[in-house]
Symmetry: C3
Subunit: 237 residues, 3 copies
């Protein structure tokens, strides 16, 4: 938000926030069983960690992937709203589960901290945005959200308006020997966002090289619609 | 709208507006039969009342509920757009039907006036919003939209970003002996909004107490993402 | 975009932009076959033309219709995002195919240029928008997007908030002897936009007369919610 955040809330469920994406982390130590039954989670746990954001799904999902690697929590559901506060993309709701509330809390804390990195290769101007993500080793959050093969390098390219995302996908897949394992567009696989999202798996160097090649093509294309796109944080790829 | 509204339009169909939610009320005395056949209404009536808004579905649906209690009109369809002018929630389109155009018009007038009240427990800041609604006796609009049992007390909690809405739901259902009868989230039951909406039925005092408990937890959580949330009108719960 | 556009990008795929709707035109000379297989196109072509926009689907589809009339390219897919940068309507992604890249490029160029005209009868204020489109002879893009009968006159009315669109549809269908061939609303047929879109086919003069009648009713209705709506370009109907 633009306003000065208030004092830390005196609410048990509060874990923390990250100004990137208006992200908030929460925890429920012992969730109500009727509520749990309606939440369509993959498994039932009594302790839930909750990561939500107005802007971003990719950053939160890649952050959640690090959280499940680093903790005893599991990712139980990932939902993507059509949001971005008037922008072209997604907001997100990620639910972690754990036997112990301290594990759920820890997962949320790790994910909130990782956002500083995973917002690094988001570039936006008034007309749209580009997003690039990369990991050397995909874990359960990326498997759940994108069907990423476990333990292999994985990356995504995102372009908005969606037309730019088509060219990013084509550029990446031609730039090195990788597998194109996903393609989402406004009417298929996104939450009606104005994005094309392409997902790539393969050898570590090859995936990274493909993502970088796409970024080099995407930046001048988005710039043609407005000002030079700027990183939301510090680029990491 | 931000601009000064123009003079009252000299159009037969115009009933009125309410600045809350950019809401407009219209009426069609004798709807074209080809159009009627395409509108997917629950029943056919020749006279339609139409309530539409850029921001809000809860306020308009609770207002429509009062309108059907107070008039000879029926609610024929309720559709929720993904809107809020860049915010995290819904806009709405409610269609009333009546045998007589004066009944359709009256329903729209009642609903437009009720919005002053039903926007009262919407609290927003730059990062999101909370919504609370309560009625001692649910009627046909709430039954249609939320499956509310007729004649019983009914309420909803809404939190955006959706993460906050999960905690509101858990807080409310634990606060008193009520039935959780609905849970909607970005990917299930909403129009891809960044909200969790929980719906509660039960005894009048219990439902009201649950809603108030959720409101007390939600306010500091939303405030943690920005400024202190402010009511869009005058709180009524 | 609001910012000053950068220099023309030195990227092979770039064709051009139109500030109306933040529209961009791109071309891929020889699309990757794995990508092509995932794009859900109606037919496979190795050369693709791509027209994308943050704001508008009607203007881009009517522009694409002129492009397929004027070139050897075909429309392979039309997707509508929920966008308009916080407004009530759609963004769009239109993919053309051609045997030869020069034909794909030409289709994109024609469509980008046509946008100056097809944005002419979009009228907006802070509260919503109206859109009117008309052609004396529908071709393949309009057939694909709206089911328009080939070679006949065709038009659409769009009102946002959706309530206004209901009255536009009723006004148009009553104004002359035309066929109502489509009706889309927030929950059916749109990408959850806050619009009602009605589509009309018939004799040239009758369709045009119906569209003009709807425009005359719609302008004061939208004005009742804010300032006098203004054309995004130069009215053509």
């Amino acid at each position: 938000g633009d306003g000065a955040p208030s004092a830390r809330p005196a609410v048990t469920e509060f874990v923390g926030t990250n100004r990137l994406g208006d992200s908030i982390g929460l925890v429920i130590a012992n969730v109500d069983s009727d509520l749990l039954a309606m939440m369509r989670l993959e498994r039932d746990y009594k302790s839930l960690g909750i990561l939500g954001a107005r802007t971003g799904a990719g950053p939160q999902i890649f952050a959640a992937d690090e959280a499940v690697k680093a903790t005893n929590a599991e990712v139980l559901s990932i939902e993507m709203a059509r949001d971005t506060k008037g922008g072209a993309g997604h907001g997100s709701l990620v639910v972690f589960g754990a036997e112990d509330v301290s594990d759920a809390r820890r997962a949320v804390e790790v994910a909130l901290a990782e956002l500083d990195r995973t917002f690094g290769d988001i570039y936006a101007n008034d007309a749209g945005h580009l997003e690039f993500q990369y990991t050397a080793r995909a874990s359960y959050a990326l498997q759940k959200a994108f069907g990423a093969p476990l333990g292999r390098a994985f990356g995504i390219t995102v372009g908005a308006p969606a037309a730019i995302g088509v060219v990013l996908a084509d550029t990446a897949v031609k730039a090195s020997t990788i597998d194109l394992i996903g393609y989402s567009s406004p009417a298929h696989g996104t939450s009606l966002t104005n994005e094309v999202i392409a997902a790539f798996s393969g050898d570590s160097g090859a995936v990274r090289q493909a993502i970088i090649a796409a970024r080099e093509v995407g930046m001048p294309l988005l710039a043609a619609l407005g000002t030079q796109p700027e990183s939301a944080s510090t680029p990491y790829i």
